[in-house]
Amino acid sequence: MSREDNKAAGETRLSPAETEPEIRLYGEDETGNGTGLRDLAGLVIAASLFGLALLIYSDAASYPVRRSYAQFGPEIFPFIIAAGIVVLACITAVTAWRGGFEARDKLNLAGLGWIVAAICAEILMLYSGTGFILASTVLFALAARAFGQTTHLLNFAIGATMSTLLFLLFRYALGLALPNGPLERAIDQLLR
């Protein structure tokens, strides 16, 4: 999957020399492309994994004790998983410390921010009852902006068209229940 990174970037240039896919060994830099630099973000990941393990453990430790033929109850699997995550967190920490993570592209924080904002906007609008079409339109327009499309009016127009068509398709052809707002109720009345 990680090799798909290139394809997703949309500008893979394959070298004509077909190199044999390098099979890596443990102990050395696992993916063979590490930066060799201490990786703070990698350490943060390791710390989050420790946190996750602790969370699972404390949750599982709180279950009431049951006695059964199995000798073990619903806590056994969480305990195993938590133990596994602790081991992996340690490996992650070592990898990050030794610089085993690949170099990453420069982060386009604005682009990411627009996407997160788009989804948050949709969540808020759906909770406040504006209905699916309006919320999706805003989502579409903000998401298009995230990819550098600054033609805002056009974005909104395309988003509105697409959301309305999707609403009609899903409501009337597939019978899915989408959140209603004033606009959706009006369409329902019109088509009835």
Partner: protein
């Protein structure tokens, strides 16, 4: 009843107008997404998971399989014309295919790819129909210990095969297993990791996990890059029809590619990457005469397109063998299809063949039909697929995001699902950015609860004695396979490296 009786029955299911339509929609969608770089078949199936709930089990599985096959072919189009493989399976196609396009015979490359896909798909599907019943017979004797071993096999191989880093594969797997924990325990009713949120004390729908990790995470990842998404496509040049000379050059690569693809598809090595690579190198090694010249002078050899394209479609069929008979996904798309089955309360495995024979054989039969549709429709329609490459990427990706959230909201009926979706999207984004494979997380979330059930059932029967796990020979064999498939390639590499080092010394 033998295989052919089943197949004819299946054909009856597959020929129903609705199912024909699902197959058609599947191959069209699959080709369309295969063409567009950045969206693969796995993501497409993820997007359609929530929506497909209203299609019925048979219909949606037929559609998903169509997407899988179509995606393999669509990937070839962007590989050849853009030199950007739409998905990993067509990376090898790009090498010779794009060179052919640049010297003005791109049409031929596309034609060779289309017929190669058809041939590979047919051989693979036939193999699937013949091999699957034997696998089922073996698998029917499995008990809890064997099933647990199978799941361990699946966990190990999916973590080792996808992407390069074993530790990151395993980390992804354990994140998936954690997701699988959330909700009410089946055996005792204990609510786990829900933190008092009512929506989470039911289990988290696998569709939210799949769409969040794959679709939302992917969109975030693309948006977080500094990239100009505009690349110029080579125009389709020359006829897509092959002449007799071309066919003669293609026929052997087709057969070798199909064989390789079908052999490697069911192995837990991560889908089509390895067979397409092997097929390409085989063709390059065996090339003689004009083919030798085409390879060596960088003109683009048709054999280098034909072999890998036959291989990737044959491997798609091969992947379905372990998926249908054992419930083991060996590629990301197969994992998505497994999620699709689970959505309908179906558990792929030997029992699926006895309990839902009409579904299974309808699916297999519709694969033949989907294959036929692909070659009949796609050769004339290539112009339309190419035009898809001109949709401005911002709107394309924004559209995907809209569709993803719509499906989740529609299927779950609550806005809370979107909060979970955003959470999984962020997790998926971080995983992508740091090179963690996504497929193990999905497989962990799907198979984790099943593995836990088998383990605890076994413990209950054996009164808490863990040794039942390793007393069966079949289970031990499966553990050995798991060990070999994870460590084998690495041991082999180590051995070969030492050999090379020794040779250099002498």
């Amino acid at each position: 009843m033998d295989v052919f009786t089943f197949l004819i029955d299946g054909l009856g299911t597959a020929m129903q107008p609705m199912n024909l339509m699902f197959a058609l929609v599947g191959v069209m969608l699959g080709t369309a997404v295969g063409v567009m770089p950045g969206i693969g078949p796995a993501l497409t199936v993820a997007l359609l998971l929530p929506v497909s709930l209203s299609f019925g089990a048979t219909g949606s599985m037929i559609m998903f399989a169509g997407i899988y096959y179509g995606g393999m072919y669509g990937g070839a189009i962007s590989s050849i014309l853009l030199n950007t493989p739409g998905e990993t399976a067509s990376i090898m196609t790009a090498l010779e295919g794009n060179r052919m396009a640049r010297r003005g015979v791109g049409g031929k490359a596309l034609g060779a790819a289309a017929f190669g896909s058809f041939f590979g798909g047919m051989v693979g599907t036939l193999g699937l129909a013949l091999v699957a019943p034997f696998m089922v017979m073996v698998a029917l004797s499995f008990g809890t210990a064997e099933y647990f071993a199978l799941m361990v096999l699946s966990f190990m191989t999916v973590s080792a095969a996808f992407g390069g880093s074993m530790s990151r594969g395993l980390t992804a797997l354990f994140i998936g297993l954690t997701i699988g924990l959330v909700g009410t325990d089946k055996l005792t009713g204990q609510v786990r990791l829900a933190f008092g949120v009512p929506e989470m004390s039911d289990n988290i729908s696998i569709a939210i996990v799949a769409v969040g990790l794959f679709a939302i995470g992917e969109t975030m990842y693309l948006a977080s890059q500094h990239i100009n998404h505009k690349t110029k496509a080579q125009a389709v040049s020359g006829s897509v029809w092959l002449n007799w000379e071309d066919i003669k050059r293609c026929i052997k690569p087709y057969m070798r590619g199909a064989g390789l693809g079908f052999l490697f598809g069911p192995l837990p090595t991560g889908g089509a990457e390895i067979p397409t690579f092997l097929s390409y190198t085989t063709e390059k090694k065996l090339a003689k005469g004009q083919a030798r010249k085409d390879f060596d002078e960088g003109r683009g050899a048709i054999e280098g397109v034909a072999g890998p394209e036959a291989a990737n479609n044959a491997s798609a069929a091969g992947t379905l063998i372990p998926l249908l008979t054992l419930g083991l996904p060996t590629s990301a798309t197969a994992a998505m299809m497994l999620a699709g089955f689970q959505q309908y309360g179906l558990q792929p495995g030997p029992l699926l063949f006895t309990n839902s024979a009409d579904l299974v054989w309808g699916l297999v039969a519709s694969l033949f039909i989907a294959n036929l549709m692909l070659v009949v429709l796609n050769v004339p329609l290539i112009g339309i697929w190419v035009r898809l490459l001109t949709i401005p990427r911002p709107w394309l990706y924004a559209g995907i995001l809209t569709f993803a959230t719509l499906g989740i909201v529609g299927a779950q009926g609550s806005a809370f699902a979107l909060i979970l979706l955003l959470g999984f999207g962020l997790i998926g984004f971080v995983m992508r950015r740091f090179g963690y494979p996504l497929a193990p997380a999905l497989v962990g979330a799907i198979l984790g609860p099943l593995a836990e059930e088998q383990l605890r059932r076994g413990l209950m029967i054996n009164r808490g004695d863990w040794s039942f796990l390793v007393t069966s020979n079949i289970a031990l064999t499966i553990y050995a396979i798991a060990f070999l498939s994870v460590f084998g390639p690495r041991l082999w590499a180590l051995g070969r490296r030492q050999l090379v080092a020794r040779r250099q010394e002498s």
